[in-house]
Structure formats: C-alpha cells, structure tokens
Amino acid sequence: MNETLHLEIVTPFGTVLDEPVQSCMLPGEQGAFQVLKNHASLVSNVDIGLIKVERESKNELFATSGGFCEVKDNVIRIIVESAEKAESIDAYRAQQAKERAEQRLQEDKSKVDAHRAELALKRAVNRLKAVEVIKKDH
C-alpha cells in the first residue's frame, strides 16, 4: 500500500499527469464520483466530462472525452482518449466546434452522423464548461 494517493492520466499522446494528489473527481458513466485515499479497487468507465484533481497546493481541472479508470492500492490510473488542462483550452475554438456540431445535428442525414455530431457537441460543451469553471475560480 502506498502512503499517499497517486494519480496517473494516460492518453494516446503520452502521460499527462503523474503525481501524488489528495483526491480526484471523475465523471463516471452513471454519475460523477470522487476517489479518496484507501478507495476500494475499481475499474470504471469514464464519460465525457470534467476531471477535478485536488492537491494541497493547487487544484486542477481537465476536460476529458472519455475512457476508463482503474483504482488500486492508492494508485488511480485514468486511461482516456484525451485530457486537456482547462487553462490550455481555446474557448474560441471550442465555441466554433459547438456551433459546427449543432449545425450538423440540424441537417441530420443518417443515424450514424447524428450520433457522431451529438458526441462532438457534448465534447465541445464540456470544454466550454471547463473554461467557465476556471474563470469563476480566478
């Protein structure tokens, strides 16, 4: 057993975060949940949403497009297709992506395209939300 809670965020583009934390809030498929020290071993889906990382010094916020997480022996491993730091999100681009997705949803050709547009919309809204949350904090 580790003394402290350790968090790793792994994406196809490398490891985003790998350090000790106090707690971590994750967007599970059936609602958000928080992982604290000595959490039971767990494997869960991670939905499109925000990952909140709490540390002694500074809290951090990531927007993710979904994946998995694994908790074991005080190590949280988040395996997601993307995890963007809220500070580095380009609000303008996210806004544009949102409008594009909305437009595509209105045109709505086939089921597959509509589903994809919906997901794209969800991701864009999520990123905008991340930007808003950190704006409020500062």
């Binding site: 196809p12 767990l42 494997v43 869960s44 998995f68 491993r77 297709e81």
Partner: protein
C-alpha cells in the same frame, strides 16, 4: 568523347542533386525522430487497455463475448494497405504493394477481396490496375493526427459489424530501426486479445466493475482498435521516414562517387587537350624551321 564543357555541366548537375538528397535526408531524420516519439507516447496507453481487455475476456469463470470478437466463415475479406504518400524512400512502397498482391491472390481463391488503400502510392497503383477498391485515403501523413485514425477505425469496424466483411487485415511497414522495416500482415478483425506484457503484477479479480464487466469490455474494444489504427499509422510513418533517410543517404554517397569519377575524367580530358595543343604548337614550330 564528351567536351570539357559538357563534363563541367554534368559535375555541377550532380552537385545540385547531391545537395537536394542531403537536405531530404536531414528532413527525413528529423521527421523520423518526431514519429518515434509519438510511438513511444502511445505505448503505456495501449498496454493498459490491452491488459484490461485480456483480463476481462480471457479469465474468470464467466466468458465474455463481443460481436467484434466472433469469427465468421470468411467470405469477404478487406485488406487495408498502408503505403506512403510520396516516393523516394527505397523499396518501402513496392514491398507493401508486392505483398498485398500475393495476399490478394491467396484470399481470392476462396473469398471475395477488396482493398482499403491508405497513402497516395497505394491508391495510384491499385487504382490503375482495376483492383476492387472499397475506400481510399490519401494525403493523411502530412500533419498526421488522431482524428484520421478514428475515421479509418470507424469505417473498418462498422463494415465488419454490418457483415460487409468477415475479416479485416492490415498490411503495413513496422518501424524497427532507421535502416530496417518489418513488413507486417496483421488480422485486425475479428479481434483477439493479445497476451499483455506484464500481467503478473496485477490481479484483476478483486476489482469492483462499474457498471459491469461486459459493458466495460464492449466500450474497451473499440477504443483499443482506435489506438491500434493510430499505432499502425505512426509505425508506417516512422518507417517511411527511416526508409527515406537511408535511401537519401545512399543517393548522397552515390552522387559523391559519380562526382569524383567525373572530376577525374575531366582532369584527364583537360590534360589530353593541353598535350595535344602543345604537340600541335611544337609540330608547327618544327615545320616552320624546316622550311
């Protein structure tokens, strides 16, 4: 015999070519390094997902199934051929094309085969020769990004799910080192969980699965396939740059050799011209003296 001026022109043209090949070599080397870094970056992610899938699918009392794991009798085959967009990289493209042709003939005996070409070279070659092409993608390697891999993965998976194809095979060059590529022929679908690298460390049975094993597996497999396609594109890209680097290095060396041969030839010809001139002058002077 070539005149002095002609030889001089040839030397300077070889020199220009050499400059180009040298520059291409250096560009390829830089691109290769970047591509290599990308390959290293996906490894932890791919290992985690693969380990989890392998565990859920293969162990425990209850067996889990996923439509993408079920193999059907092979009646229609899709070959996904990954070549480069550009040439000048040695035998990189022709190796892939040659292998694809032989795989194509092998499967055509019992099944219907179609091609999904990635990279301009494959589209050009197979397009001209009336091969059945299911889909093609070109120009994706310049500014390669994950979205492209997702598109390909979605195309292939949905074709498999709707039984358009019963087997999907990728043919691509795997990056081994700057001078060597491995040609790979990989069955992509039906999906088989690979033996993960270090399972001894973890026992997955004591975990809580949220929502449950089956739905996690169902969500994991497409994610895994996405990252596999991404890996294949990165491997091929790194291998292409490696092959180009080696090819251009050879070309630079050849140019050097030709240049030194031509210089030798040029000097000899100059010497010969001078000698003839002198002997003509001497001859002329002798003739004058005699008269």
């Amino acid at each position: 015999m070539a005149t002095l001026r002609e030889i001089r022109q040839r030397i300077s043209s070889v020199k220009t070519t050499q400059q180009i090949t040298k520059a291409m070599k250096m560009v390829a080397a830089a691109k290769m390094r970047r591509a290599q870094e990308n390959i290293l970056a996906i490894r932890p992610y791919a290992n985690e997902i693969n380990g989890l899938i392998h565990h859920i699918a293969e162990s425990g009392e209850d067996k889990f199934e996923n439509p993408l794991m079920q193999s059907r009798p092979v009646e229609k085959v899709l070959l996904v051929v990954v070549t480069a967009d550009r040439g000048l990289c040695g035998a990189f493209n022709s190796n892939i094309i040659r292998t694809t042709e032989s795989v194509f003939t092998k499967y055509s005996q019992n099944a219907e085969v179609e091609l999904y070409t990635i990279g301009r070279k494959a589209s050009e070659y197979f397009g001209k020769r009336a091969y059945p092409i299911y889909k093609q993608k070109a120009g994706i390697f310049h500014g390669l990004n994950f979205e492209r891999a997702l598109e390909i993965s979605r195309d292939v998976v949905s074709a498999y799910q709707s039984s358009v194809f019963d087997r999907v095979i990728f043919i691509y060059n795997e990056f081994k080192s700057a001078i060597a590529q491995n040609l790979r022929e990989e069955v992509f679908l039906p999906f088989v969980a690979e033996e993960p690298e270090n399972t001894a460390l973890r026992d997955y049975n004591e975990y809580i699965y949220e929502p449950d094993k089956q739905s996690i597996l169902n969500a994991l497999i497409p994610k895994h396939l996405n990252v596999q396609v991404w890996r294949i594109l990165l491997e091929s890209n790194a291998a292409e740059q490696g092959a180009r680097m080696t090819a251009m290095d050879n070309a630079t060396e050849n140019a050097e050799e030709i240049k030194s041969k031509l210089t030798l030839y040029y000097n000899r010809a100059r010497q010969a011209a001078i000698t003839t001139e002198i002997s003509e002058i001497v001859g002329g002077a002798e003739a004058l003296k005699e008269s």
